[in-house]
Amino acid sequence: MNKVSLNINGITVKADKGATILKAAQDAGIYIPTLCHCPDVSSIGVCRLCLVRIKNRRRFEPACRTIIEEGMVVVTDDPEIQRLRQVILELILSDHDFNCLLCPKSGQCRLQELVNRIGFNEHRFSRLEHVAKDLPIDTSNPFFDFNPNKCVQCTICVRTCHEITGNDAIDMAYRSYDLRVSTFADKPIKESVCVSCGECMERCPVGALIPKKVEHPTREVKTTCPYCGVGCGLYLGIRGNTIVRARGDDESPVNHGGLCVRGRFGYSFVNSPDRLSIPLMRAYDEYAKPSSVVEVTEEGRPITLPLVKRDGKFVEITWDQAIKYVASSLAHYKGDKIAAISSARCTNEENYLFQKFTRVVLKTNNIDHCARL
């Protein structure tokens, strides 16, 4: 690929032709503050925090939108740029609802980062009127909330919804000071065409779009989404023995970091109190004299131990009993009196083993699964 060389802050930098100044600088390890830039979507340059000085150009240019040219001389930081950035940041802060202590985004918030990096002039800032807008919070979506009082109008969410998901559920509405993210006809998000994929929430740089349940994971495990045949790569965030969040795997060749509503939010079933925990058995058998007879009455609960049924009810038995029971009863039947149905939700290894079991142990080819569905 063609390389272009330019000078940033006195350093000669080489970058791909067609790259932006921001990209060239970031690749060279030079920091330029940004707010409305998100690498996954196109840049529109609305926040103006990334303004840089380019030699022989009259105006400051936004680094996130300016394409590099051979021999360009760029300055990313000088007292004038700093002042400019501070003023912009002060204006953003002036109507931001910054109760950081209570904000779930605290610590990962782009605005906090910018304040730390750029700072503000206290004198000037105190003269601005600090009236956070008092708009209602949209809590209609079951997975995330939208707090317009924290929104910095970066439009990343709008671009995400348009460019990445193609849903166009949200857009910017109203003018000037009232400018805000809105659905069609300003309805609650749940009543819009939003599919709750959470892509916008994932990219919001501040605490405006925020998951309902914020629990920070202590470790992450890379795995594959269990919900559909696309098989998106994802990381499960774990805290203790609980899945608290999921995020798309950027490196996955399938989804490139994207997830749909099921893949992103569909994990509480794993911890559902309904899970089966003990083998169950119908209670008319000898084996149904379990060490502890726990009558299981709730229907539809998940299982975590084998169960047996008694008088139409299930009782819990131990694994040893369950395995022995199944093994000894299966031994009475061989060949074509038996059929086995495997599951398209289980792993390859399990499907392999199950068909091997059916063919080798049960001596029949009566094995199938719901493939045709």
Binding site: P226, V254, L353, R372
Partner: protein
């Protein structure tokens, strides 16, 4: 996927998900992609944003129609008439890829003759799609390349689903859109590991990698590897199993992780069949509707609680990793199976972990031979991958097809009316679909938040039909087919055409499958889910009953 296998030699998505966005023309038939496979829906959106043409064929006005250049609103179950109509126009206007047909295909002349028998006016009459739209679609498909075909249950859940797929294969061959990037015939799989379950031989007629049970040599190989004698005859397909159980021929059923009572066609029949069993073992993570009929229920571990691999719809083998400890006393399925086998004194089930099992799979399956856990540590590999240097195969058939001659066969497919048609008594066609927010029933009902998005079954009905029947929006009505009846709340909408009603089968409260028909496809035995004749009656009293008030809480 027997349809694809018959035409090309194997039945999987021919191309990759990532190639969709590079396609110049996309033909989405019977797939509500944005809802069922949102990530693939995004690829389609991306392609359209970049200027690709999109043709959608679906009786319902699905979200994809908004992006479509042409929307072919065909009557449910008339896909073949539509596809054949399109192909006739392509042949008539000489838009086919003659070089490709000569080089790579066979049986063209007979096929051509059979297609020319289709009259466009008849196609128009059967499908309800205006002839000029068929012509427009044909011109697009015939002249724009690369073109890709996407389809899902909409096309396979018919009593003639296999023929539908073969018709699509014909279309791809005719236009030379196969064996190249961004082309192909691409079934989008529903459940996460349907592809893997097929690859692994969880089928009555094949071992792993589609090695045939009836093939002497393949059987010998597995007999040697497994050190036992194997049955030389094909087993029963799932629908046949339930029939055999019903007749008392099958006495024992071992069911793993499926819930046929909720998800299969004609629920009451299946319930009856199960009651005739002598022993019914269920292995699942929840006490499902079906599990409640079992004699023994074995609690299995969920996907986050075990190691292994899934194979996605584009044949990519990917890792699943254990993230948390199994809940309560549940155990991974493979462990349970090994324990039972060992307890029965059978050898060959001494596995300590999933990787050991995978090594055995590799050794026996040529298409998986080059895939190892180390190689797919970072990202998955698409089979066929014959050796450990092979990078995997993003698209199939670039050189030859998997048929004995290496050439693809044009199949003769003609339109047959659905096994069940409307009558004076049952005047409506019911089509079923899945809701975007629910994955079959159990998993998402247990996950918080999903029930809130779509709380209950709403049967979609066209305003004109609603007016004739004097039905109001949100009213509870009784829907009956020749097999049974269910109640549901109405949703009056133009998403469905007049004469057609639509329900999902994601809700336990309304077991839509009580209505659906069992008439299966002659080859794959897929029951007819999509098309079924129903009548609709008002149910005044339902307004006030307590039963109705309780609906939709999502409680089971």
């Amino acid at each position: 996927m027997a349809g694809l296998a018959a035409s090309f030699g194997s039945g999987a998505m021919t191309n990759s998900i990532n190639e969709i966005r590079e396609a110049a023309c996309i033909f989405a038939i019977g797939t509500n992609t944005t809802a069922n496979h949102p990530i693939i829906g995004r690829q389609v959106t991306r392609a359209v944003q970049k200027g690709a043409k999109l043709i959608v064929a679906d009786p319902r006005r699905i979200p994809l129609c908004r992006l479509a250049d042409i929307w072919l609103r065909l009557y449910p179950g008339t896909d073949i008439a539509l596809i054949n109509g399109i192909m006739r126009v392509i042949i008539e206007q000489n838009l086919m890829d003659t070089a490709f047909i000569e080089e790579r295909c066979e049986d063209y002349e007979a096929f051509r003759a059979s297609i020319m028998d289709n009259d466009l006016a008849v196609s128009e009459k059967i499908t309800g799609v205006p002839a000029q739209d068929i012509v427009r679609a044909a011109k697009m498909l015939g002249s724009i390349s690369p073109a890709t075909v996407l389809y899902t249950l909409g096309i396979t859940e018919h009593s003639h689903g296999t023929d539908n797929v073969r018709a699509l294969a014909n279309l791809a061959l005719l236009t030379g859109n196969i064996g190249k990037p961004s082309t192909g015939v691409n079934p989008l799989r529903g459940q996460n590991n349907v592809q893997g379950a097929c690859d692994m031989g969880a089928l009555p007629n094949v071992y792993t990698g589609y090695q045939k049970v009836e093939d002497e040599e393949a059987r010998r190989k597995f007999e040697r590897a497994w050190n036992c004698k194997l049955s030389p005859s094909n087993g029963l397909k799932m629908t046949e199993m339930f029939e055999a159980a019903h007749e008392g021929k099958i006495k024992v059923l071992y069911l793993k992780g499926e819930d046929p009572i909720v998800t299969d066609a004609d629920t009451s029949f299946i319930e009856k069949a199960i009651s005739h069993l002598e022993l019914f073992i269920v292995q699942d993570i929840f006490l499902t509707e079906t599990a409640r009929l079992a004699d023994v229920v074995l609690p299995a571990a969920g996907f986050a609680e075990k190691d292994g691999t899934f194979t996605n719809t584009e044949r990519r083998v990917q890792r699943v990793r254990k993230a948390i400890e199994p809940k309560g006393g549940s155990r991974p399925d493979w462990m349970i199976i090994c324990d039972i086998a060992k307890s029965m004194g059978v050898e060959g089930f001494d596995f300590d972990n999933a990787q050991e099992i995978f090594e055995e799979i590799r050794a026996l399956t040529p298409s998986y031979a080059g895939i190892t856990y180390e190689r797919i540590e970072k990202s998955g590999i698409q089979w066929p991958c014959p050796d450990d240097k092979h990078p995997g195969t993003p698209y199939l058939y670039s050189e030859r097809f998997n048929t004995p001659s290496g050439r693809a066969k044009f199949a003769h497919v003609s339109y047959r009316p659905s096994a069940e048609t409307t009558s004076h008594e049952y005047p409506f066609i019911l089509i079923t679909r899945r809701s975007a927010f629910h994955y079959h029933a159990v998993m998402t009902h247990k996950a918080e938040g999903f029930d809130e998005l779509r709380k209950e079954e709403r049967i979609e009905i066209h305003p004109a039909d609603a007016a004739t029947l004097e039905i109001q929006d949100g009213e509870v009505i009784k829907v009956s087919s020749r097999r049974g009846s269910v109640k549901a709340k109405t949703k009056i909408t133009e998403v469905v055409p007049a004469g057609v009603v639509c329900m999902t089968f994601n809700f336990l409260e309304t077991r839509t499958n009580i209505l659906t028909s069992r008439a299966p496809d002659p080859v794959t035995k897929t029951p007819e889910f999509k098309v079924c004749a129903v009548k609709i009656e008002r149910e005044e009293s339902a307004y006030i009953t307590k039963d109705y008030m309780r609906w939709g809480t999502g409680k089971i």
